[in-house]
Symmetry: C3
Subunit: 263 residues, 3 copies
């Protein structure tokens, strides 16, 4: 069966960079089935990339290889990673991009990719997507043992967006993403909400605004143009407005802090 | 041989929704060849989706499975359909999205998709593309008999854009699509034009404007910057301007009514 | 092993034209692996298409078939070409689109595609991408001998951007492309720069501006926000600004003339 390799980047589809990654993969593993997850991550927006990846990976079959490149520090000391999980593999920079998706699947072991001969003969300092991550992913797809890519590493970078702070009865999270419908997706998971024992309402503070929202399951559970909180299909709490735009209403954007308390 | 599954949606390529549909398909049918028809349908614009689908499907080989999701009423009572034609299969909502393409190919039988176990374990009320249409398409690609998806249905929704009104020597149609060059594509087919016995000119009324146009075969048949009517490569009458922009000239947009008469 | 066919066009991804090309290919060669190089070439911008193609093709395996369609003169006398190189095949119009990429690989023979029965039954005058280039590429992928497509031709069109003018110690080139980071990519290759024996600085004239730049290898070799010249990863000299936007700074756009001299 063809091995699936997914690609998530901030390269866009105008420049031929994504095609160069695919060319590199197919040169090594001609039968790979390559799936674009998205290439429209906002430039250098690691948290948006992390969210997109975490959203989509549960739908892929076991053994899928995910390559993600949102990499503002390419060419510096930041480590190139291969993370093996209970469901598959993640390749990308050690900057938090892989953390939400890989932790969701259960991390088995993380390795720094150091084996030079698995990469392209010339590794540019600006395009590890093509020169390093794509070829290593393709070698994995052809059956390379993950242990051959380099040594096990600990202490992966865990950025602020991957650390919910809990202070007594309060959670401090942030906006991970605003989707095309204006839904404000936070980094607070359904598990963390459950741990707060909120019942069916939550109080939240966003900018200078205090809101008391009921926690629903579908957009239709509140009145037209009224806001509600709900656990989205990807397991994160989101703020929505029934047939309206929550991001506009609350002037929320990616990275904004949100505080959750029991009303 | 790999089965072809095409995808037509209004999801865009920024969000990972299209990738989630592909992940679902490949989880069930790992050898499917998935082809993006387009994901840039204007949000909820069923007639634009219907036109795009009808344009492109004639080029696909017999047996191709087409999944189309422009679905403003997802989560309501609207029926999810599988339409079997003489050339292939169409899956999508019963809102007219599939009507132009499937009638062009010759409908054999239409079914409502009801078989729960062919869908994803959890079917959200907002994303039938991933949870219902993608998995059923993938099961068809692996050889499932179409009769297993659910009962035969009649009286499919036929929206206004799929019903040309003929009143004596007049046709009333509308604008299906305005392409990137400003060509105004109508829902009037070459057959319907032939039935009017127009000869080589047509009179048409668009907004408050009366036009008498010659019916040509190529853009070059009229003078530079002059309008003409022609039967486009997809079999619909379109209004064009030789090296100009007909939509701008006539202020035409998707959904506008057009009346055709013999001059 | 599946044959790779790449597609480079100025069609965009909104209209279903790219899907129609893929449908045509898969109808003839169901096992082809189709890779989108890019479809976001600026409309009719042949030099931008030529650059994109030349950038990406070195990463594809030997035997890859590249179809490129930026074709302002479709429907006129311009010749449809198949160029066989030492590394693969190029199909596209004879307008210079294929010249940079095919010369980089070493041209073996160029042919005019004339064999009518290799094309679609109906060849429109506006869409040779679907009706002519896609089916011929697919036939090649199934094993057709290249000599069967038509007679050998000489004197391919070589547009201004493919001819560097050297006058003594001066080179006259032009801007091929401005990438998303504002890097100004010229048509002057590393070989041509080497032939000038410039040492480590170059003087260049762009609009009314005279610049003396050091020639570096990476963006980091100059101070923050300072310009430098470097040989990009695709072998062409580019003008960059360390963490800045060279195109904005120098008001450079595609097609602008640049003169290079020894300082």
């Amino acid at each position: 069966l063809p091995k699936i390799i997914t690609l998530t980047t901030d390269f866009g589809l105008k420049d031929p960079y994504v095609a160069e990654m695919k060319a590199t993969i197919l040169s090594i593993c001609p039968t790979a089935a390559i799936v674009d997850l998205t290439h429209e991550i906002d430039k250098f927006n690691v948290r948006m990339g992390a969210y997109m990846l975490a959203s989509a990976v549960p739908y892929f079959p076991k053994g899928t290889i995910h390559v993600a490149v949102v990499d503002p520090d390419v060419g510096t000391e930041r480590r190139p990673l291969l993370i093996q999980t209970k469901q598959g593999f993640f390749l990308g920079p050690d900057n938090g991009l892989l953390v939400l998706a890989s932790e969701k699947q259960g991390v088995v072991v993380a390795r720094e990719i150091t084996k030079r001969k698995l990469m392209l003969p010339e590794v540019s300092s600006t395009f590890h997507g093509r020169d390093l991550f794509a070829p290593v992913a393709a070698h994995l797809a052809t059956g390379l043992s993950p242990s051959k890519v380099g040594p096990e590493v600990k202490n992966l970078i865990k950025p602020v967006f991957a650390k919910i702070r809990r202070l007594g009865n309060e959670l401090e999270g942030e906006v991970l993403y605003v989707d095309g419908f204006g839904n404000v997706i936070t980094n607070v998971s359904n598990q963390e909400i459950a741990d707060l024992h909120l019942g069916d309402t939550v109080a939240l503070e966003l900018h200078d605004c205090m809101l008391k929202l009921s926690i629903g399951k579908t957009y239709g559970e509140t009145k037209l143009k009224q806001p509600l909180a709900l656990i989205g299909s990807h397991g994160y709490l989101e703020i929505s407005v029934n047939q309206g735009n929550a991001a506009e209403l609350f002037k929320a954007k990616i990275g904004d802090k949100i505080r959750f308390t029991k009303p």
